[in-house]
Amino acid sequence: MPVLDVRDLKAYYITDRYGRISRVRAVDEVSFQVHKNEIYGIAGESGCGKSSLLKVVSGLSKPPLRILDGEVIYKFDDNELNMLSLKDDKQRRQLRGTHISSIPQASMNVLNPVKRIEKSFQDFVSVHFEINNKAQFNEMVREHLSALGLDWDIMHAYPHQLSGGMRQRVIIALATILKPDIIFADEPTTALDVVVQRGVVQLIKKINEEQHNTIIMVTHDMAIHANLCDRLAIMYAGKIVEEADAHTIFHDAKHPYTTMLLKSLPKIGDESERESAPGAPPSLVDVPPGCRFHPRCPKATELCCKEEPQLIEIEKGHRVACFHEGGSR
C-alpha cells in the first residue's frame, strides 16, 4: 500500500514574454509510488526537472509552473486525497507540518533573518496547535532537539549567527518537529562541506528511524543517494528513465544514462579511467524526438530517434525506459 501515488504527472513552465511563448517541459508523464517508511531518492542532473517534480507533488507549484495532467494521491490513515484537486488553500495548509513537510536546499536564507530561531519554531508549531502553555511547548522542542543531538541554546540565536551546517540542521529539526508522515528533501546536502554533509545525512537517517516516516530525497549527488536511499529513480530531461532499489541501481543498472552517470563517478582508491558521456542534456524547451537520451546514447538505433520508450517493469521492482532493455512503445 503506497503512501504516495503519482500518476502520469505533466507540468510545464509556460511563459509569454512579449508574445514569445515558451514551454519548458519540466515534468513529462511521470509516475511513481512511494511506500511507508522508505527513503525514496530522485536523482538527476541540473535542469532535469527533479525539483519541479518535487514542487508539484508537494503541492507548492506556482505559476509559471502549470500542472497539465496527472494525479498525486496521498494516503494518510486510510484517507485518500488528491493533492492536485485540493482547491482550498486552507486544506492544503492543514496537510503541512503534520502530514507532509519539506527540507529545502541549504542556503543562507531559509530562516527568517530578523527573528530568533525560537520564533520560527513557534510559528511552525502554531499552525496546528494553539501554544497555550509555553512550558509545554518548550519541553516538546527540547525533547525533539535533544533527540536530534542539537543544543537548546540555538533557540535564542538569529539565523546569521549560525554556521551553514548548523542552520541546515536547525531547518531539519523545524521540518520534523510535528513528526510528519512524508518529508520532501530538495538537495538538503548541497553546498555543505563533506563533514557537515555527513552529519546531515546522519540526521535524516535518524529521523527516518525514529519517526518511522517516509522521506523523498532529491539530489544530484549519487553518493548521497547510495548512502541514504532504499529505492531510487533516475530522471533525465523531464522523465523517469529508470527506477529500482538502491542496490540494483548501483550494481545492475540497465538504462544507458544510468550506467553512464555511474561510470563517470571517481572513487578514492580507484585509478581506472573515467569518461563522461558526449554532449550535454537537452534544453527542456526543445527536447529531442523519440527517446530523449538518444543523441548521447551509444546504443541508439533508428527506433530510438522516432519512438518514445515507456517506463516498464523488466523485473520485480525494476522499471526501465529503454528499447534495448525490453522497453516497449
Binding site: 542532473e45 541540473s46 554556521s163 551553514g164 551546517g165 548548523m166 562541506d193 563533506v194 563533514v195 557537515v196 554533509q197 555527513r198 552529519g199 545525512v201 546522519q202 544530484h220 549527488d221 549519487m222 553518493a223 548521497i224 543517494h225 547510495a226 548512502n227 536511499c229 538502491a246 542496490h247 548501483f250 553512464m260 552517470l261 555511474l262 563517470s264 563517478l265 571517481p266 572513487k267 578514492i268 582508491g269 580507484d270 585509478e271 573515467r274 569518461e275 563522461s276 558521456a277 550535454a280 542534456p281
Partner: protein, 335 residues
C-alpha cells in the same frame, strides 16, 4: 580585482631562466582585518603556507579543504589579486608583487573560475572573449584566429559549436571548456583552477577533469587544482595539500596522502566522502565542529576541538610541519 589602469603595466618582464622552480611559495600568510578602530578582528586566512612546483616537470597539484580553509585565498595570492601579509610568492624567479598585472604574467598564469555561468557576460556572445584574448595578446606574425581554433580543439570543442552563442544557450560543461580554451590561447605555463567542476553536472565533470590531465601531458601546463572534492583530486592530481583553517596540515603525493592518510583531519575528511555504493554506507556517527569562528581563534592545533586522538599538548602548542614518509604533516602525533 579592480579595473584600474595600474593593473595594466606595460613594462615587460623577463622571467629569469636560471630558476628551476615554476612557483615557489614560502611561509605565506594572509591576515584579513575586519571592522575599524577598536572593534577590529583579525582572521588569519592563510597561515605559514609553503609549497613549490618544478619548472620542467608539469604536474597537477591539488589544494583541498573545506570552506574557510583558505584554499581560495592562496589562489588569489598566487594570481596577485591579494597582497600577502607576510612571506612571498615567487613565480619563475620573480616576486608576484613585482610582476602582477603585467601582460607577461597574465599571459603565463591564467585562472579558471568556479562558476562557468558567471564567467562570461550574459549579454555578450561567447566567442568574442576568445577573439578578444587572441587580439590583445597576439604575438607578431601569428595567424588570424589560429590560436582560437587550436585551443578550442584542445578542449574538445569546435568553433561551430560556440559561434554566435550566448552563455545562457550553453551547458555548464561547454561553458567551462570554453573558459579553459580562452585561458589556453596565451599558452600559459600555469593554470589556477578554483573549484572548476563544482558547478558542473556529474556526468560532464570528468570531461573537464580529463581535459586537465591531457593538458598536463600534451601541453606541459601545470595546474593548481583547488577543490573540496577528494575523489576527483585522487583521480587527477599528482600531489595534494590538505588545508585546515589556513594551515596546510598534510602535503605529499596524492596516492599516498589519500590512500594512507596520517593527519587525523585528513582521515576524517576521507572518511566523510560518501561512496557511490550502497554497500559502503557510513557506520559510525561523527562529531561536527562548533562555530567556525571559534575554531579559527583556537590556540594550538585548530583541529584539537574535534580530533579523536587529541592530546594535552594539542590545545597548547601549534604543531610544526615535519617530514615523514615522503610527505609533510603538521600534527603532534608525529613530532
Amino acid at each position: 580585482m579592480r579595473v584600474r589602469s595600474k593593473n595594466f603595466r606595460s613594462n615587460t618582464v623577463e622571467f629569469g631562466h636560471g630558476h628551476s622552480k615554476l612557483l615557489d611559495i614560502n611561509d605565506l600568510s594572509k591576515v584579513f582585518i575586519r571592522g575599524q578602530g577598536f572593534s577590529k578582528t583579525r582572521l588569519v586566512a592563510v597561515n605559514k603556507v609553503s609549497l613549490s612546483l618544478e619548472r620542467d616537470k608539469p604536474e597537477i597539484f591539488t589544494l583541498a579543504g573545506e570552506s574557510g580553509s583558505g584554499k581560495s585565498t592562496v589562489a588569489k595570492l598566487i594570481l596577485g589579486f591579494e597582497e600577502p601579509t607576510s612571506g612571498n610568492v615567487v613565480y619563475k624567479g620573480e616576486k608576484i608583487s613585482n610582476i602582477k598585472g603585467s601582460m607577461e604574467f597574465m599571459k603565463d598564469v591564467q585562472p579558471v573560475f568556479q562558476n562557468p555561468f558567471e564567467t562570461f557576460n550574459p549579454l555578450k556572445k561567447i566567442d568574442s572573449y576568445l577573439y578578444e584574448t587572441e587580439k590583445n595578446y597576439r604575438m607578431p606574425g601569428a595567424d588570424e584566429h589560429r590560436r582560437v581554433k587550436e585551443s578550442l580543439e584542445l578542449v574538445g570543442l569546435s568553433l561551430a559549436e560556440i559561434k554566435d552563442k550566448y552563455p545562457s544557450e550553453m551547458s555548464g560543461g561547454q561553458l567551462q571548456r570554453t573558459s579553459i580554451a580562452r585561458a589556453l590561447i596565451t599558452k600559459p605555463s600555469l593554470l589556477i583552477a578554483d573549484e572548476p567542476v563544482s558547478m558542473i553536472d556529474a556526468s560532464l565533470r570528468m570531461s573537464i577533469v580529463n581535459l586537465f590531465k591531457s593538458l598536463k601531458e600534451k601541453e606541459n601546463v601545470s595546474i593548481i587544482y583547488i577543490t573540496h572534492d577528494l575523489a576527483t583530486a585522487y583521480y587527477v592530481s599528482d600531489r595534494i595539500a590538505i588545508m585546515l583553517r589556513g594551515y596546510i596540515v598534510e602535503i605529499g603525493p596524492t596516492k599516498s596522502v589519500l590512500g594512507n592518510p596520517l593527519h587525523p583531519y585528513t582521515k576524517m575528511l576521507i572518511d566523510s566522502v560518501p561512496s557511490p555504493d550502497p554497500t559502503k554506507k557510513w557506520k559510525e556517527d561523527i562529531v561536527l565542529s562548533d562555530m567556525e569562528s571559534s575554531e579559527f581563534a583556537r590556540k594550538g592545533c585548530k583541529f584539537a576541538g574535534r580530533c579523536p586522538e587529541v592530546k594535552d599538548i594539542c590545545t597548547r602548542c601549534e604543531p610544526e610541519s615535519v617530514k615523514i614518509d615522503g610527505r609533510n604533516v603538521r600534527c603532534h602525533l608525529y613530532q
